[in-house]
């Protein structure tokens, strides 16, 4: 059944966040597939239910929490019926019947009816003055009640209940939170965190009746109080029910769909009836009905792809995280949160500062945690849980090492002669003296004065603490920690890049003048960085500054410890020929090469070559440079793939060669390694590459941010694509996004940790316009690259000055 435009009919029952989020995904993926009709029982377009507590607090108006206004529905040709609920579904005839009498046929039907507050089944629950906290109407009732009454009770000490209670308190009511359990938010917090939360909320004026089971609501027509099971009573003129939610399943049930607590769905949100789906809080997936927003978005994304016939991994459940949205209370919880015998725990508990942090690990992997009082690491904790990150020194420091009281003591207790910077052997006393004698106020100043922290950077946090300890009240945290490009400037990387663009600065000399460098020609830190940023911003205009390159990139070869060089010719995809091998062997003999080595990236390295021989070898080889020295694409490793391998499903070699030819020679913030695999056996080791590609039957998976180096990191899945074209497009967009936002020398593994995988996904995968713009910019940059060995061979003058020594024999002169 299709309509006149050839579109299929999609009907959405429920105009809330789950249904409309699904619609938004569909419009992005395939805007012309469906004619969409939406029914919503509330009189409003889709709004942000999560932010109802802000409306209650009066920090936002209803208009401000509207997510999609009516113009949006019109613009996308969506028929919207608000204040209208669906009364019946006929799964045989494939029609729905609405309360306004309409009968609408569907090809596909999505039920997104959400949930409602669970009303306790006790006597008196139907009295006036007892409401849920679920929609705008509830919110308006609460605002109204605050004008008329003083004493309120909120039943339920979970997330929603506490938010409602805090809202009513702000409206001037006296509020008591009634909770069945001893501990608040017992489904997200352990007892320690829970008691800290309660103490904090009590100090803000909330009252609590915990461990109380509601037995009856007192009063005549209107509620006047609550009687508990233990016989005690609480006066209350207004009651908010927030003791859990109940999925709205009646419609589905009467249509004969399989229903348990929620409408039963599989991993693609399919219900028991053909072409009928359920998404969000109304469903039950693998035994769970979620009551939080993140899972419903994840479900919506999978459902939308399924409805658009786009291959997608199944939805396998969500890692649930919770953040309390109450001002002045920082509480975060994700994954598993209760100590059990099989879990290892990292814990930091500080009653004086009221900070509590706990991270749980199973087999060394992070699987859950709680943050109270300091939620700065919340998003990273969630990421660590999602990826099953292994606990490292750095993560440990990020979680428990930042509490100022601890570290202050540590620094104060540190002996004067204690070495703070192990790389450069700088003691605490040296740093303290430098701060007091030279009036230093920033880490950068300490770096350039004492050499501490100039190599690996690992001691940076300790130096910050010493600075704080010595300066006391004078310490300005933001200024002290600011990471400038180098000590020649007080500007950070982002500030410099912005100024370069805004002021149209083309040469590094212009940058140093215009941005008031304290040093006319810069230093070994900023020179290569500026050269990179300028080339990235102005690919056509900027002339590469050879004298600002490190020696390897200047000489286009890898210098070795004895001053000789290694030469690696390009071998696309790691594929060579007998003729090329013979040539390489002959050249190795001719130049008396000290060693021929197969590199980690499937290439041949000729080692021990004299500088003056480099151009001759390049000439004899007649092959392009393999860029083994460069901050650019090094190699694309490939497995044998479908050309020869019995298991191969994709032609990894052809794809690897194609990618290497397309992206070679382009400057990047740091070296860049790739791999292409023909099947999930992953013989070319994608998980430790900046981009690792894995072929599956009918699709490519793209993994990013892997690193097998100093700080090992497993690559994470960016997306899965069907066609070679889309694969190349996303690679191009990813590389360009990294080029534009990465700090010089920052590998993708650190970059992704810094900017977040989700934001990268949004930029290079989800936002098509942005993706295409990135591709356009990288094309321009790629059109400017040149083969560097030929460039030198073609320029006899440059070749002599750069590669030939001047030799003088005094006996002849």
């Amino acid at each position: 059944m299709t309509n006149l435009d050839g579109k299929k009919r999609l009907v959405i029952v429920g105009n809330g966040m789950a249904g409309i989020n699904t619609v938004e995904h569909i419009l992005k993926l395939s805007p012309n597939t469906y004619q969409i009709t939406v029914f919503g029982s509330e009189p409003y377009p889709n709004y942000n239910r999560i932010q109802l507590s802000y409306v209650l607090e009066k920090s936002k108006s209803i208009e401000e929490i509207i997510l999609n206004d009516r113009d949006w529905y019109d613009a996308h040709g969506i028929e919207l019926y608000t204040g209208t609920h669906v009364t019946a579904i006929d799964t045989e005839q494939k029609t729905v019947e609405a309360s306004n009498g309409m009968v609408v046929p569907y090809d596909r039907l999505v039920i997104a009816t959400g949930s409602r507050p669970f009303m306790l089944p006790v006597p008196g629950v139907d009295k006036q003055g007892i409401v849920g906290f679920r929609d705008i109407a509830d919110c308006e009732q609460m605002l109204h009640a605050a004008d008329l009454y003083r004493k309120a009770a909120v039943i339920g000490g979970g997330l929603l209940g506490l938010e409602a209670a805090k809202g009513l308190l702000k409206l001037g009511m006296e509020v008591t939170v009634v909770h069945l359990f001893r501990e608040l938010m017992e489904r997200q917090l352990d007892p320690v965190a829970s008691h800290m939360l309660q103490a904090e909320l009590e100090s803000q004026g909330l009252q609590f009746a915990t461990g109380k089971q509601t037995a009856e609501f007192l009063g005549d027509e209107r509620v006047s109080g609550i009687r508990f099971a233990d016989g005690t009573e609480l006066e209350a003129e207004f009651v908010v029910m927030a003791a859990g939610i109940k999925p709205n399943t009646e419609l589905a049930q009467s249509a004969g769909l399989a229903v348990n607590r929620g409408i039963l769905v599989d991993d693609y949100m399919r219900t028991s009836a053909p072409d009928v789906y359920a998404v969000g809080e109304c469903n039950e997936h693998r035994g769970i009905s979620y009551g939080l927003v993140a899972p419903l978005f994840e479900q919506g994304a999978v459902l939308a792809k399924h409805l658009c016939d786009i291959e997608t991994p199944p939805y396998e459940g969500s890692v649930v995280s919770t953040q309390l949205k109450i001002s002045g209370v920082d509480v975060f919880s994700a994954g598993e949160f209760m100590d059990t015998e099989d879990l290892a725990v990292v814990r930091m508990h500080d009653d004086w500062r009221r900070i509590y942090k706990k991270v749980l690990m199973r087999g060394g992997r992070i699987i859950g945690g709680i943050l109270v009082g300091d939620g700065r690491e919340a998003s990273r904790l969630q990421q660590w849980i999602r990826t099953g990150a292994i606990m490292t020194e750095a993560i440990h420091t990020a979680i428990v090492g930042q509490g100022a009281p601890d570290t202050e003591n540590t620094v104060a207790d540190l002996a004067d002669e204690e070495i703070v910077c192990g790389c450069n052997g700088v003691s605490k006393k040296r740093i303290v003296d430098a701060i007091t004698e030279n009036g230093l106020t920033t880490v950068e100043e300490i770096k350039s004065t004492t050499s501490a922290c100039r190599s690996c950077g690992g001691c940076r946090p300790v130096i910050e603490q010493i600075l704080q300890y010595v300066l006391g009240d004078q310490y300005d945290s933001a200024a002290a920690k600011k990471e400038t490009i180098c000590s020649c400037t007080s500007l950070s990387r982002d500030e410099v890049v912005r100024e370069i663009k805004e002021k149209g600065l083309i040469t590094s000399q212009e940058v140093r003048y215009a941005l008031e460098w304290n040093n006319k020609e810069g230093c070994s830190k900023c020179r290569p960085a500026l050269n990179y940023y300028l080339g990235m911003i102005w690919p056509a205009e900027h002339v590469d500054e050879r004298d600002s390159r490190f020696v390897n990139e200047r000489m286009h070869a890898n210098i070795q410890k004895d001053g000789t060089f290694g030469v690696v010719p390009r071998m696309y995809g790691g594929v060579t020929t007998p003729e090329d091998l013979r040539l390489i062997a002959d050249i190795a003999v001719k130049y008396n090469v000290k060693m021929v080595k197969v590199t980690g990236g499937q290439r041949l390295d000729l080692l021990g070559i004299k500088k003056e021989d480099l151009p001759n070898i390049w000439k004899d080889l007649g092959m392009p440079s393999g860029y083994a020295y460069a901050k650019a694409l090094r190699t694309v490793k490939t497995c044998v793939g479908s050309q020869f391998c019995r298991f191969g499903t994709k032609d990894s070699i052809t794809m690897g060669v194609l990618i290497e030819k397309r992206f070679e020679r382009l400057d990047m913030p740091a070296k860049f390694k790739m791999a292409v695999n023909g099947c999930p056996r992953n013989c070319a080791e994608s998980s430790t590459k900046d981009i690792g590609i894995v072929g599956n039957e009918g699709a490519w998976e793209l993994y990013v941010g892997g690193n097998g180096g100093i700080k090992a990191r497993l690559a994470e899945l960016l997306c899965k694509v069907k066609t070679d074209e889309e694969l190349l497009e996303i690679i191009a967009a990813f590389i360009q996004h990294y080029r534009e936002t990465g700090k010089y020398l920052e590998r993708t593994s650190d970059w992704i940790e810094r900017v977040g995988l989700q934001s990268i996904m949004d930029t290079v995968v989800n936002d098509l316009d942005n993706r295409h713009a990135l591709v356009e910019r990288i094309e321009l940059a790629l059109s400017q690259v040149q083969e560097p060995w030929n460039e030198i061979l073609d320029n006899q003058n440059l070749r002599e000055k750069m590669f030939d020594d001047v030799r003088i024999s005094t006996t002849q002169s």
């Binding site: 000055k801 750069m802 003088i808 005094t810």
Partner: protein, 121 residues
């Protein structure tokens, strides 16, 4: 540092014209057994330093980066003042330097007459 007056304690050898050296890119000059790194700064000054890093890990200097009259050691990133080879704070040490003599555009490097043990030129 280049000058136009010869120091009588040195024997000077011609190593080429000023155009044979790229600005801010070092070039190795070998006079008998002595390895020298010659640098031309952006203001045209020429400096000859012993091609040996003063840092703990050894290595050569000629690959270093030149900013004004400072050389950044390519291995340990120490800052070396090219006029006298002095390693600048916070590190310490000194690199041996040789006098450079200019006659017109011809560049000459002075080697100590007493077998190379004279102080820094």
């Amino acid at each position: 540092m280049s000058s136009s007056a010869a120091d009588p304690n040195y024997t000077y050898y011609e190593v080429g014209s000023t155009h044979d050296f790229l600005e801010r890119v070092g070039r190795r000059v070998i006079i008998d057994e002595q390895e020298i790194a010659l640098f031309k700064t952006s203001d045209g000054e020429l400096y000859a330093l012993e091609n040996k890093s003063p840092g703990p890990k050894g290595g050569t200097l000629v690959e270093g980066m030149v900013s004004e009259h400072i050389l950044f050691d390519p291995i340990c990133d120490w800052r070396i003042r090219m006029e006298d080879g002095q390693v600048l704070d916070p590190d310490t040490g000194q690199v041996k330097t040789y006098p450079v003599l200019l006659t017109g555009e011809q560049v000459h490097i002075g080697i100590p007459k007493n077998g190379g043990e004279s102080g820094n030129g």
